[in-house]
Symmetry: C2
């Protein structure tokens, strides 16, 4: 390939790259912005495709931009303001029977309050969802189903939907079939069934720390003791800590979110997944793998699962469409491995079948390929949002603020100066119409008082920029 | 009013009544059939309206026909074949921790098998449901709801639906308001929440006997001991037995279906409801009142509830639209009284919100008055079916067969000769494509082996007549 030089005797591609670079430094091009397509720039500069591509490769090598499959190049923030990662957590490792705060119920009420800058959302906001196409599929499904879907479905759930879910396991190398899957009323319901299948009151489970509060609430309701283990904001659970614990303590189940943990967004590497599976097989401990955000990855491919490495049936793989399509449809699933007959009975006893119409509608939506198209957009939006949030936190928050760098999903874990109590910050921010989730909600231990979870599951806007700015200035006042 | 005489010097109205009477005795008019309208007969015989009415009054006085509000006159069976009522049950009263048979899961698979005469149905068959109007309401709701109802609803459920349910409590003298009600994913889910709110593993609950198997399965899952009390097939739970039990045993909750118990169809009289409430208030025992079929009454008015007589908040009143509209919509409710905050938390922890669209669709359906029109038809069909089934059992089953005479809902409790094991009968009948629910499923005690529950939640047909005939002849063979 021939390399063209400009009249100034520098390489053309470098000239172009430098122009873009200065726009990034000047803030004309901001984090998460899409760069012009190769074709447009080629025409604008009157150069070849390969020259433009070289310019982009150059910017990529400097970590200023990054390519996204089938979408083009995007600006990646790399200013000096960029906040550092939080350290690996170091919770106390005693088994606790206890409850997190009751404030969770309030967050459901905030959902419909449009005047709030709601950074507590656990679900994508409506403008990011394919509502028109979902509605169309719902209408078609109601007309198509016998008796309009008024009948009780069978206990394992829609065969069409189970087949679609099974087919998607190919994306991470899985080879599940429809009979490996049981449909549930969302992922919370799947977690309930999984925990009830393998534990009884007084048992002890292991979780990451910080950990999704829903797991802590379920454990307390079922009277299970919880041990939180050290967790890295990049790589998830500390496997060494798990090994040490198992030497001294009998554990009845492990509950993990290996792909984009809630709240840190950590991604457990494949080697760790393999090792965890080998550990649970050795100790014969059931592993409940909550993979609810596994399809919301920012990288090149769908991350794998612990289920992939398990031939013992000890791994229960759980998911849902609540984080990608419609929380209000209440459709999730569980691939229960060796516990299938227990899960089926529990589902029958506790709730009977799952809503008929929504199961078939989602199956229909998936079968058309609309889901994959939608997911591509969702991933791009969330990835860009994560960079924009990190940039804003760097700009507005106290200088010693630490922030996780999620590789998927839509949550940031923010660690503020120890002096700042986020429960107090929450009360103050709420008065300014900004809400988030304080760190206390994500543990049963006396910790994370200076932490928060920020959700970026909505379109970026000036309101959000201003909300983050407000949070930052309130935090600074508390120093 | 002048009374006309015919040429034969008998009264005209008697002549007409005798013609109808002989058609009934000859089987030309069968149990549950609607008699011609007064207008049609008036024209046919060329007599006045009052003459026809006199004929019908005469037949009614002989218990051959009966009027139904806004519908006309129907044939009531009164042949000598009419089977007797079963005796009040007399179960052992020890507290049992145990499970009923696993065959229940099979019944869900039978639901879609059209080649079966399915007398095990727990839900009206599709031809009895207002499918077209429900579908229309679903379409309208999806279009009307923000974001097509993809969002998580709040935890207590749709305000519109709770208001509709609260308004319907006026029908039994209740005065609930929307904040008294929490929506659940069907009545099974409501039962789960109610039991979890007031009991813990190892506790003891009291139920009717025979009792809906779902209650037994839930109790076993939650590790609750169950005491079954003597129950009358007409009047429900034996209150004297309850009083005696409470003198010697501590009870943590009582679960009753006072209106049309499943499986006997018994209706607890108002005086008994009052007395039960007074007993639970005295002993401070929560009462879980499953009123899922309370609107499917055959009498002149909606029966009252225990909730009506309770000012202590100890009664939790439960219902659902599964038995009247759409089991597959998975919408029920609970009026939790003093346990509301516990129920809200449990719902949040175990399942989060309920499916958004179906809640609003049912609220819309109820607000138009379509529901009342539909219920009137449903009650007429089920009442007529109950009489037809009882007639068929009288005709085809062994002579010593006893049958309950339900006053609502759509189940018959049949007690056969002690020699006949209904589990064996079930296996034989299944080979002939007829299924029902054997009595063993409705108890944890060693009893009801000679009993069965028959559902009549579908249009009467020759297939059903032949199915009952087959059951009867198989039973006779087993004597």
């Amino acid at each position: 390939m021939e390399i063209k030089k400009s009249r100034k005797n520098t390489f053309l591609y470098l000239e172009i790259a430098q122009k873009i670079e200065s726009q990034i430094y000047d803030g004309v091009l901001a984090t998460g912005d899409k760069l012009p397509s190769v074709r447009i720039l080629k025409n604008e500069y009157g150069v070849s495709v390969s020259t433009i591509l070289q310019a982009y490769y150059h910017l990529e090598s400097k970590s200023l931009v990054e390519p996204r499959p089938r979408s083009g190049y995007y600006v990646v923030f790399c200013s000096e303001n960029r906040p550092e990662d939080p350290e690996k957590t170091n919770p106390k490792q005693n088994a606790v029977l206890g409850s997190v705060t009751d404030m969770i119920i309030d967050f459901y009420h905030h959902l419909s309050n449009k005047s709030l800058v709601n950074l507590s959302l656990g679900v994508p906001s409506a403008e990011l969802l394919p509502i028109a196409k979902l509605n169309k599929t719902m209408h078609e499904t109601i007309i198509k189903l016998p008796a309009g879907g008024t009948y009780y479905d069978n206990i394992e759930g829609s065969e069409n939907l189970r087949r679609q879910i099974a087919q998607r396991t190919l994306l991470w190398g899985g080879n599940l079939v429809e009979s490996d899957i049981v449909i549930t009323a969302g992922c919370t319901n799947a977690l309930l069934l999984a925990l009830m299948a393998v534990t009884k009151a007084g048992d002890t489970i292991v979780v990451e720390s910080p950990v999704f509060f829903g797991i802590l609430q379920l454990a307390n309701t079922l009277k299970l003791r919880v041990i939180e283990l050290p967790t890295d904001p990049n790589y998830g659970l500390d496997i060494g800590a798990l090994k040490n614990l198992l030497k001294v303590k009998e554990i009845n189940a492990i509950v993990l979110i290996p792909n984009f943990s809630n709240p840190t967004g950590s991604l457990m590497p494949d080697e760790h997944k393999k090792e965890i599976v080998s550990i649970i097989q050795q100790h014969q401990i059931p592993l409940i793998e909550d993979d609810i955000c596994g399809e919301i990855y920012y990288g090149k491919k769908r991350p794998s699962t612990c289920k992939l490495y398990d031939d013992s049936g000890l791994v229960m793989w759980l998911g849902s469409f609540s984080k990608t399509l419609a929380g209000g449809y209440r459709i999730g699933w569980i691939a229960p491995g060796r516990f299938k007959s227990d899960i089926m009975k529990l589902k029958l006893y506790l709730s009977s079948s799952t809503t008929t119409i929504q199961q078939e509608a989602i199956a229909g939506f998936l079968s058309t390929g609309r889901y994959d198209y939608h997911l591509r957009n969702l991933r791009h939006t969330f990835h860009a949002n994560s960079l924009k949030y990190i940039r804003a936190i760097g700009d507005y928050f106290p200088k010693d603020t630490l922030v996780s760098k999620p590789k998927g999903s839509f949550f940031l874990w923010v660690e503020l100066n120890k002096k700042i109590k986020t429960k107090t910050l929450y009360e103050r921010a709420k008065k300014c119409n900004v809400i988030f989730m304080p760190g206390d909600i994500f543990t049963l231990q006396d910790q994370y008082h200076n932490c928060m979870r920020l959700s970026y599951a909505m379109e970026w806007s000036d309101e959000i920029e201003n909300g983050l700015k407000k949070l930052g200035s309130l935090a600074k006042e508390m120093m």
